[in-house]
């Protein structure tokens, strides 16, 4: 432990943000990471608990007390080694992870948690700038071929782990660039895409073949799931060509809101809206980009995707943004003795909310439900809503509380229900009750589906979740695949 009394001496500091007016002009990241002195002080706050809850609170089990100490000692090189030993892509999680580790931090029980995420961010940014992140080539090749289908964080992590133990990995992506939701879901202002490009180069140097624009199987007709594939390959072909197939296609099917008027123009899934902006940011030309300029935007869904829609709409220059959340407004501060060290339910206000509110554009509504979309000449003009109350876990409408809210653009950000069924059906993979690929996470036989040599990991198996869970599943599934191919595996679980 760096400094025994550090937590008593130093306050937690938040990473700095660039001013709102400046950051709204573009789609660049605006978080200013910790400098050396700040990182040293922040890591000194770690108490090196006998039982570090952060370590088990973190889905990839980052060895947090150790890297905190190393940062305090100024040994950044070893710190990145420790961090990389459990997490393939700390620059992703250091930017966009909600940090369940900090919720679990013992200091969070009656004080402010150690700034674990900001320290992680500082370590990996330093490592990249020092040139410490290099390809880790396998000592020998196994001659086994593995197809990883879907290039989100689960697929990338799995591909990297498998390549590092010598398998010939091909990473398939139906869109034009790898990254999945990281690439086309998360706005650039939260995470710039150069981070993914750098990892793509590392993956290729480590021997991974990346095939973008290739759809595995087929998409259902009329799907709204973003698909820019130019060619396709059948599951049979894949199974024939590869010794193992790992499905990491995510949970792409957005939850719909089948209220009257859903067919009106101007009602879209968030996952139609957000990918287009990211593609434009990447320099691609896109005709008829879905934009919010001068519009009254209603975002339905109070989660992170909704917040990303708020931030993107604000940057587009929307006239006004209203965000709906069907649940009542949670408390600003959780009851720590009740929930610690678990993830608390509390009001979360993102940087997108802050900047939009600062511009006087944002209205957040809680305990509100959509009854109908109203329109004129086939174009949406408003959303008819009703206030709701929750009684014994059941939603009850409040009589006489109907109201029409003006809307030129409605974005549905209510989460994802399950993977696109045709992908799983194409492989004849069994589904669980929620429509996800059925596979366990057991030490033996984990991540294997009912179909021989076909595995599944990430959101496609567990349902919509965090990037950090995807990385965990990718890593664990890589071990399962390696064990299946070789009989034994040295990859970590």
């Amino acid at each position: 432990m760096g400094k025994i009394t550090g937590f008593m001496e130093f306050e937690r500091i938040k990473e700095g943000y660039k001013p709102v007016t400046e950051r709204l002009k573009n789609y660049k990241e605006f978080v200013i990471g910790l400098d050396d002195k700040q990182a040293k002080d922040q890591s000194a706050r770690c108490m090196d608990c006998g039982t570090p809850f952060c370590n088990s609170g973190c889905p990839v089990n980052n060895i947090i007390p150790d890297f905190n100490d190393l940062v305090y000692q100024g040994d950044w090189k070893t710190a990145i080694d420790v961090l990389h030993s459990t997490n393939n892509f700390p620059e992703f999680t250091g930017r966009i992870c909600p940090a369940p580790c900090e919720a679990a931090c013992t200091l969070n029980y009656n004080d402010d948690a150690v700034g674990i995420k900001s320290i992680e961010h500082a370590i990996i940014d330093r490592a990249w700038s020092e040139g410490w992140v290099t390809p880790q080539l396998p000592k020998h090749k196994t001659g086994k071929k593995v197809a990883v289908v879907g290039s989100g964080p689960a697929g990338m992590a799995a591909a990297q782990q498998l390549a590092r133990v010598g398998h010939d990995v091909t990473l398939f992506e139906k869109n034009d660039r790898i990254g999945g939701l990281l690439r086309y879901g998360i706005p650039d202002f939260k995470m710039e895409k150069s981070h993914i490009d750098r990892r793509a180069e590392q993956l290729q140097a480590e021997g991974v073949t990346i095939r973008t624009g290739v759809l595995v199987g087929e998409m259902p007709k009329g799907t709204k799931v973003t698909n820019w594939a130019k060619e396709s390959i059948t599951p049979e072909q894949l199974k024939k060509e590869f010794d193992a197939v790992l499905l990491t296609g995510g949970s792409e099917q957005s939850r719909d809101l089948p209220a009257p008027g859903r067919d009106l123009a101007g009602i879209h899934f968030a996952m139609e809206f957000l990918p287009q902006q990211n593609k434009v940011n990447a320099g691609d030309k896109l005709k008829d980009q879905l934009r919010a300029d001068g519009k009254h935007v209603v975002v339905i869904g109070g989660g992170d995707t909704g917040s990303d829609c708020v931030g993107t709409s604000t940057r587009h220059g929307a006239a006004h943004v209203t965000q709906f959340e069907v649940m009542p407004m949670p408390p600003e501060h959780e009851n720590k003795s009740l929930v610690w060290p678990y993830w608390p339910l509390k009001l979360r206000t993102s940087s997108s909310h802050d900047e939009s509110a600062e511009k006087g554009l944002l209205q957040r509504e809680f305990a509100i439900s959509t009854k109908e979309f109203v329109g004129e000449k086939g174009q949406v003009a408003g959303v008819k809503t009703v206030r709701v109350e929750w009684k014994d876990g059941k939603m009850v409408e409040v009589a006489g509380s109907e109201e029409v809210i003006k809307a030129d653009l409605v974005l549905l950000a209510m989460g994802f229900v399950n993977p696109v069924a045709t992908l799983l059906d194409g492989f004849a993979v069994d589904k669980d009750a929620r429509g996800n690929a059925k596979a366990s996470t057991e030490a033996a036989g984990g991540y294997a589906t009912n179909v021989p040599k076909v595995f599944a990991a990430g959101d496609v198996r567990r349902g919509q979740s965090l990037v950090v869970w995807a990385i965990r599943e990718g890593r664990q599934a890589a071990r399962a695949v390696d064990e299946f191919l070789m009989g034994v595996s040295d990859l970590p679980r």
Binding site: T5, M8, M47, D48, G50, N110, D111
Partner: protein, 405 residues
């Protein structure tokens, strides 16, 4: 979960003395009560599931314990508790739990005899003197006698009212908690914990008449002698085992050599060591004084000086000029106290070493080292300052009254 109890940084204010952190403690006694209710309730549930009515019926039922399967952890794999959980093959009538009362044989204790013979002293305060045989099976000799005396005389008896001469080997805790007015004079040797919690009495242990060795090279009492002794004095004409005078808290003791960790955690009282000590002397010592005869000049290497300073034993005259009065141990000069201890030691035990030192006093004194705990020195100064402030204030007030008149 923190495991930082030793660092004074407990973040929830439990294991810390830091006032800022202690403020964070939010526990209440009722929480503990609640907790135990929950435990009791859960125990009842488990007992009901097992079909057991009484707690006694569960004792020794190792056959009901099992290893939980399915804990997937590298530490758990490879554990086999079957031998730990094995139930011994015994007949059904062999009891599984406490069904008998222990017999300590107190009615046969040597102290019963001592109390009987000390009756004139206990009842009428008369002086008594008698002899007994000491055997190592007699534990805590003098403790029950002290109890009997204290029942009638809560402050004890005048010095030396009861003098008991014993011959042989004193058992464990010989002279434990001995009260005012009792002298145990043992010719022979004694076991561990001799003089434990000494509370005003006197213990003398001198070698057997048949002993032909050199007292300063031979053990006479066992380990942890004088543990936590608060009052009284003890003279041992020989060497003690480990941890001599550990936690000594006010009594005086003379010894002719010690094992390791002498005067550990000592908080008060006076110790004179007339021979060699073991290592780690005075570890954690915060009060009282030890005078150590440093014949080979190497004592400093055997002393733990984390909390103590080593000083010279000055002559009374030198001390008068060189050392401020407030930091004098017991308001007396070191020379006077040490000399008195040696004289008493010689008088009680006939110690040859004490005689030699007294006969060559000026050389001997110069070789004594005074072990002075830093905290004790600070406290002496503060106590003195507080006292003078108290006495000065009324004096000033009187003067003011006089002036007004």
């Amino acid at each position: 979960m923190m495991r930082k109890c030793h660092l004074n940084t407990c973040p929830v204010g439990v294991a810390t003395q830091d006032p800022a952190l202690r403020k964070k403690f939010s526990g209440k006694p009722e929480h503990v009560v609640n907790y135990f209710f929950f435990i009791a309730e859960e125990v009842r549930q488990i007992m009901a599931q097992l079909g057991i009515k009484k707690f006694d019926d569960m004792i020794g039922r190792a056959d009901l314990l099992d290893m939980r399967q399915g804990i997937e952890h590298w530490k758990a794999s490879g554990l086999d508790f079957s031998r730990l959980l094995a139930v011994p093959q015994v007949a059904d009538d062999v009891p599984r739990f406490h069904v008998d009362v222990q017999d300590h044989g107190l009615e046969k204790a040597l102290d019963q005899k001592l109390i009987e013979k000390s009756k004139p002293a206990i009842e009428r305060g008369e002086k008594v003197q008698f002899m007994e045989v000491a055997r190592n099976v007699n534990r805590s000799v003098g403790a029950m006698l002290s109890g009997a005396v204290t029942k009638v005389h809560p402050q004890g008896l005048p010095d030396d009212t009861i003098r008991i001469q014993l011959e042989g080997t004193g058992g464990q805790s010989f002279g434990a908690f001995l009260c005012n007015g009792i002298t145990l004079y043992l010719i022979g040797d004694a076991n561990d914990y001799t003089g434990k919690g000494l509370s005003g009495g006197r213990i003398v242990v001198r070698p057997s008449i048949d002993f032909r060795g050199d007292a300063i090279n031979n053990i006479i009492v066992g380990n942890t002698a004088m543990y936590g002794a608060t009052l009284g004095e003890a003279f041992f004409a020989g060497v003690a085992g480990e941890r001599f005078a550990v936690r000594l808290s006010g009594a005086s003791a003379v010894i002719e050599g010690t094992g390791d960790h002498g005067c550990e955690y000592m908080t008060g009282g006076t110790v004179a060591v007339l021979g060699k000590t073991g290592r780690n002397f005075a570890a954690g010592m915060s009060g009282g004084i030890a005078y150590v005869y440093d014949e080979d000049g190497q004592f400093a290497t055997r002393c733990n000086t984390a909390m103590v300073s080593l000083e010279k034993v000055l002559t009374a005259a030198e001390q008068e000029t060189a050392v401020p009065k407030p930091v004098w141990h017991r308001d007396q000069s070191d020379e006077a106290q040490l000399k008195k201890l040696l004289e008493d030691h010689h008088r009680w035990t006939g110690s040859k070493r004490a005689r030699d030192l007294l006969d060559n006093w000026s050389t001997a004194r110069a070789k004594f080292v005074k072990v002075f705990p830093n905290e004790y020195k600070r406290a002496l100064g503060e106590i003195h300052a507080a006292k003078t402030a108290k006495t000065a204030a009324p004096a000033k007030a009187k003067k003011a009254v006089a002036a007004a008149k």
